[in-house]
């Protein structure tokens, strides 16, 4: 509850979709430029890649992966409702299913990306 308004799942689903979408867009802009560097200035590209492999870089990568996974799952949910409007009735339960898949698929991937930080 904020100021007496109930923050519904649908609103949060929309908000997270928009935030993750803009964040992924920012990364795509960076990423196309950095791949261009791999062709024209390999030294600079290699420096950037060693940042990706650093502990802070790995945390950022995990965040990117989380945004990507949420956006993909919630996007699939949107497509289902756009093309089968009857499914709009289950919009909330489908959002919870998205989160179950998010956690089930995301935790193992995050573990593999992050584990070099503590040397596991």
């Amino acid at each position: 509850m904020i100021n007496g308004y109930r923050i519904g799942e649908g609103m949060l689903a929309w908000l997270f979709h928009r935030i993750s979408g803009v964040a992924i867009w920012l990364f795509v802009v960076l990423h196309v430029f950095d791949i261009y560097l791999a062709g024209s200035n390999p030294g600079l590209y290699n420096d950037l890649l060693s940042f990706y492999a650093s502990p802070f870089g790995r945390v950022l990568e995990t965040t990117l992966g989380a945004g990507l996974l949420y956006h993909a799952l919630n996007g699939a949910r949107i497509i289902v409702m756009d093309f089968w409007p009857v499914m709009t009735r289950y919009s909330r339960i489908m959002w919870y299913i998205c989160w179950v898949v998010f956690v089930a698929a995301g935790i193992p991937v995050a573990w593999v990306i992050l584990k070099p930080i503590w040397g596991a």
């Binding site: 519904g8 649908g10 609103m11 689903a13 929309w14 979709h17 928009r18 979408g21 803009v22 992924i24 867009w25 795509v28 802009v29 196309v32 430029f33 791949i35 261009y36 791999a38 062709g39 024209s40 390999p42 590209y45 290699n46 890649l49 060693s50 990706y52 492999a53 870089g57 790995r58 990568e61 990117l64 992966g65 990507l68 996974l69 993909a72 996007g75 699939a76 949107i78 497509i79 409702m81 756009d82 093309f83 709009t88 919009s91 991937v109 593999v112 990306i113 070099p116």
Partner: protein, 130 residues
């Protein structure tokens, strides 16, 4: 805001370009579900970033046509999806001259990324493994 709360952007009525973009967002979205997620898994999970550098791209990652075509398809899908998505955000929060200027900058950035991304994936030489 409520019109967004359950589903995505409402389907534009009356056909034309806006409706085509609405369908394309969903089509490219489906393609990206496969292309973007598998790309992420390959370069962050299957091959750890600490094992990658510019040489790895030339000698391994882009050493055959399949992966170049894969990554170029990903580039085309993501450029459409991401730039049309941000276009919706810009249209939601701006108007007048600011909107025109931001949209122009957005489209220009998209075209630049299309050109340099296509150039690098198509022209980077394959270097045989030492």
């Amino acid at each position: 805001m409520s019109r967004y709360s359950r589903v995505g952007r409402p389907k534009p009525q009356g056909g034309g370009l806006e409706l085509a973009i609405w369908y394309m967002m969903r089509l490219t979205g489906l393609a990206l579900f496969v292309l973007a997620l598998s790309h992420f898994l390959i370069v962050h999970l299957v091959v750890d970033p600490s094992e990658q550098n510019a040489g790895w791209i030339q000698q391994v990652r882009w050493s055959n046509m399949f992966w170049r075509a894969f990554d170029w398809s990903l580039l085309m899908m993501v450029l459409f999806h991401a730039f049309m998505g941000v276009r919706t955000v810009v249209v939601d929060y701006t108007r007048g001259g600011a909107r025109s200027a931001l949209l122009m900058a957005l489209y220009l950035t998209g075209i630049v990324l299309f050109v340099i991304g296509t150039m690098v994936v198509m022209t980077m030489p394959v270097v045989p493994k030492a």
